[in-house]
């Protein structure tokens, strides 16, 4: 049997040592009437058949072709060296570094990760990572509610719809009220914030791609004693003002764009970085520096009194693990790119997205609004967003994240471009949009 080392002789020797008759006899305490049920599972396969089966499944996926999909994840350049180093078997097959003397590899890499996230966001303390951007955002709202002892949060509609959905699930359980700020001209207007609001949550760039006026929004939050939560694309921080610079208290987001494949949505990782005043409220693992008995620098999990295995029902969160390996992918990738490489990836994205928008405008397409954008923007379409996406997919181009009716834009899609999109890819998308009747001349333009 695969993965099981015991020969019949081994089993016999083990049973003799234990003093029982058979392996089945070890299970005599299980309710007799329920033992060994008939479970309908497909038959076992050897490795060759397994891989053939998986390849035949994978053949029904169509990941190839020019790709303009954003809406929470994007394809960016990942050099070969990144997975090669991050996915070494010592990192892949380790567990939580409970014994720091033999876990300095993961502990130090996490300390380096925390430093890099702190640099990117301009905030003092990063935890060791969380599940994804959406759950990190929900945890940020819970943190704000604990810190301010207030039971209401204000969230911009520009925050990804799935992130807001997760926020709703988490906060409903604790009777924390959520109010949503509608967008005006594709961006969040500076609101009057009431004094019972725990935090204001704004995504930069927002779901429609627009850049938000983060300093003014932060000021409005602080004027009411609320915390500012910035939901950010970490790659954009190669160029954009870091949340710490405009006074945000918490930066959260999804780390996929820093060096993980899109993997049909996961695993990536979530990050949370906070101002130092919020350290004791921070959920999740933290690695700190110390010394060993010989005075050598070493790293260890620290401030664990915040966590569930110590505080149980009084913990800051029930989170137990982090997303270590995918966060390590980002750590290696950021070290591989360095400040210059990260800037080039981000600037290349900006360039190609604006080139695409310009080309579409040239062709008479209805690129929504005058708001500035980073590497995603919104295009109004004739047919529904999902119909446009399917029509383009039939022509071998992946593009068009549907925009929901909550935005009041009619039919629309979000388009993204990254440094991996070539000028030829852009022409392929323009041609495909023309073919499916979504460009002027073909009569778009109700906007």
């Amino acid at each position: 049997m695969p993965y099981l080392p015991h020969s019949e002789e081994d089993v016999r020797r083990a049973l003799e040592t234990i003093g029982v008759e058979s392996v089945d006899a070890l299970f005599d305490e299980l309710p007799a009437s329920l033992r060994n049920p008939d479970i309908d599972l497909p038959p076992a396969m050897d490795e060759t058949r397994l891989l053939a089966h998986l390849r035949s499944l994978a053949a029904h996926d169509r990941p190839e072709g020019p790709n303009f999909l954003g809406g929470g994840m994007r394809r960016h350049f990942i050099p070969s060296v990144t997975p090669h180093l991050a996915l070494q078997s010592e990192f892949v097959t380790a567990y939580t570094p409970y014994q720091p003397e033999v876990a300095q590899g993961i502990l130090q890499a996490t300390f380096e990760y925390q430093t890099m996230m702190s640099e990117l966001t301009g905030l003092a303390v990063s935890n060791a990572s969380m599940y994804d951007g959406a759950t990190a955002t929900a945890e940020a709202a819970l943190l704000a509610a604990r810190q301010t002892r207030r039971e209401r949060v204000l969230v911009s509609r520009g925050v990804h719809p799935e992130t807001r959905a997760v926020l709703g699930t988490y906060l409903e359980a604790l009777d924390i009220r959520i109010d949503t700020l509608d967008l005006e001209t594709l961006a969040t207007p500076v609101p009057m914030v009431d004094h019972d609001v725990a935090c204001v949550i704004v995504q930069q760039p927002n779901f429609l791609g627009s850049l938000e006026a983060m300093p003014a929004l932060t000021e409005a939050a602080h004027a009411a004693g609320a915390l500012m939560v910035a939901v950010v694309d970490p790659l954009s921080l190669a160029l954009l003002k870091p949340p710490g610079a405009y006074g945000a208290d918490i930066a959260v987001g999804d780390g996929q764009t820093l060096g993980n494949p899109t993997a049909y949505g996961g695993p990536s990782f979530g990050f949370m970085v906070v101002a130092s005043a919020l350290l004791r409220q921070l959920p999740g693992r933290l690695v700190g520096e110390t010394v060993d008995v010989d005075g050598r620098r070493a790293f260890v999990l620290t401030l664990q009194a915040r966590e569930q295995h110590i505080r149980r029902s009084k913990a800051k969160s029930n989170i137990c693990s982090n997303h270590q390996l995918t966060a390590l992918m980002a750590t290696v990738n950021l070290a591989a790119l360095g400040p210059q490489g990260l800037r080039e990836a981000a600037a290349g994205s900006v360039r190609q997205a604006h080139r695409l928008a310009d080309r579409l405008r040239d062709e008479g397409a209805d690129v929504a609004g005058e708001a500035r954008f980073f590497n995603e923007f919104t295009l109004r379409t004739r047919r529904s967003g999902s119909d446009v996406r399917s029509a383009l997919a039939e022509r071998g181009v992946h593009a068009g994240v549907p925009v929901g009716s909550e935005y009041g834009l009619g039919n629309a899609v979000v388009l993204a471009a990254t440094e991996l999109v070539s000028d030829d890819d852009i022409e392929a998308l323009v041609a495909a949009l023309a073919t499916v009747g979504e460009l002027a001349g073909s009569g778009v333009g109700h906007g």
């Binding site: 490795e47 990941p63 033999v102 799935e162 699930t169 620098r297």
Partner: protein, 490 residues
């Protein structure tokens, strides 16, 4: 913090030299960023990321890997963690699917969607549950999903206000009470009896109209099967409570008895345990949740459905608790778990639990022979609790094991046993490895008896020795202190 010395392993930031780099993205002429993005949106100074050559990068992370213990290196019998071998073919399997984008049109993702659909079905069959969600990103996340569904169920029946309490055994994983608190519940702990099982009398007294759920792990955290589980389920249901199965210890019983048949209403699975997706140094895990039919209307969205025009993600769940995370789930790990189930089939999975329990009992006997005490001296399941002889500290034994190149067991858990050592060898270890482990444990006791100074000083041969953990907590240093002022001030 003290200056780094030459004996310290360098940080990647200390290897950095201006102008170096390892990787170069596709090159474009840089656009006028101030014009496109607005001058006021741009950061003032670049983030201080390391600048290293590709070979420096390779050496750094390869040497870090060498400072890291792993299953691939040696035995790693952490109790309640199920550190079994992670098959290499699973990594190849996951790579076949990794380029798919979550926003693709569903008709271009039919392979992955079919795989996920079949996995929902197979996990349901294995647990005896009627419907499964693949969303949760970890065991604790699955717990929260399950408890929120139970909460929604009671509310739908008009009992939401009344049922405010969740019962957990005193030996439970810390995530159980923390999860209940996150869902707004008050936690009441149930004591264990002298056989290591839930105290049935105390449990029955604690049941009442205010109890929403009972969270159990079976076998429980001392590695003992709750033999009165059918009675527990009957009494819980009579009192109107829902029974939650923490799947952390499913490896003991997979294929042999199903949580659904035992009377559980909700189950979460830790795919990184029983279904051997790699632990990755602490994640990503994956914690799918299965429920009985009466809870299916509350499942989180999306679910994978099979329709005439193909597979797709459906948000059509009438009373869904909502979303637990973005997109469908940790698909890379779901693929690995699928590959494992397809490789072993039912017969293989039964043998997995059989040999997991065989190995744990074998090691229990061998540790007893080596001088360790077993507080609950009976046949155990996939793990057991031991403790060292009087006067010897578990922590010291753990540190001494590190010098033997072996990983300690889980220490000081469960909290209900003093000096607890919780040992879970898993089915993938050979008897020779278990013999060597028990012999090393015995030799540590012998040496400790000869030399008073030996144990408190251990380990002696690890990359670093015992750490000053108090200093780490009292003077937290959580990121590298750059020489100059932060460029991150924007």
């Amino acid at each position: 913090m003290a200056e780094a010395t030459s004996r310290d392993f360098p940080l990647i930031f200390e290897r950095s030299r201006p102008g170096r780099r390892a990787a170069r993205p596709p090159r474009f002429d840089e656009p006028d960023l101030a014009l496109l993005l607005g001058e006021d949106q741009l950061r003032d100074a670049p983030p201080r990321l390391p600048e290293v050559s590709e070979l420096d990068l390779v050496r750094h992370f390869t040497q870090l890997a060498h400072r890291q213990f792993s299953i691939d290196g040696n035995v790693y019998p952490l109790g309640s963690c199920t550190m079994k071998y992670n098959p290499k073919v699973h990594e190849e399997a996951a790579r076949l699917f990794q380029d798919l984008h979550p926003q693709q049109a569903p008709e271009t993702a039919q392979g992955t969607l079919r795989l996920l659909y079949e996995l929902q079905r197979d996990l349901g069959a294995l647990t005896g549950m009627d419907a499964v969600s693949l969303q949760p990103a970890a065991g604790a996340h699955g717990e929260l999903t399950g408890i929120l569904m139970i909460r929604a169920y009671h509310r739908a029946r008009g009992e939401g206000e009344q049922r405010r309490v969740v019962l957990v055994p005193d030996g439970a994983h810390g995530t159980n009470p923390a999860t209940a608190a996150m869902a707004g519940y008050r936690v009441v702990e149930i004591p264990s009896d002298d056989r290591g099982e839930v105290d049935l009398e105390a449990f029955t007294r604690a049941l009442g109209p205010e109890v929403a759920a009972v969270m159990l792990t079976n076998p429980n955290t001392v590695g003992v099967f709750e033999t009165r589980i059918l009675e527990i389920a009957r009494r819980a249901h009579e009192a109107g409570a829902q029974l939650y199965y923490d799947g952390a210890n499913l490896n003991a019983i997979v294929g042999r008895v199903r949580p659904g048949d035992m009377g559980f209403d909700v189950v979460h699975l830790n795919l990184h345990k029983t279904f051997t997706t790699p632990h990755g140094g602490g994640g990503p895990g994956t914690g799918p949740v299965g429920v009985k039919a009466h809870l299916a209307e509350f499942l989180p969205v999306p679910l994978v459905v099979d329709e005439e025009q193909g597979y797709r993600l459906s948000e059509d769940v009438p009373s869904s608790i909502g979303r637990m995370r973005s997109f469908v789930g940790n698909v890379g790990n779901l693929i690995r778990a699928y590959a494992y189930i397809r490789t072993l089939g039912l017969e293989g999975l039964r043998r997995v639990s059989g040999h997991a329990v065989l190995n744990a009992n074998y090691l229990r006997v061998r540790m007893q022979q080596a001088g360790y005490t077993i507080p609950f001296d009976r046949l155990n399941m996939h793990e057991f609790v031991a403790r060292p002889p009087e006067g010897v500290h578990t922590l010291d034994v753990a540190k001494a094991l590190l010098d033997e190149g072996m990983h300690p067991m889980t220490v000081y858990f469960p909290l209900i046993v003093k000096e607890a050592m919780m040992v879970e060898p898993t089915e993938t270890e050979s008897l020779e490895t278990l013999d060597a482990y028990a012999e090393a444990l015995g030799a540590i006791l012998e040496r400790a008896a000869e030399d008073d100074g030996y144990l408190p000083g251990a380990p002696y041969h690890t990359p670093v020795r015992r750490l000053d953990e108090v200093r780490a907590a009292r003077q937290p240093v959580l990121s590298y202190a750059f020489d100059e002022e932060p460029g991150s001030s924007g």
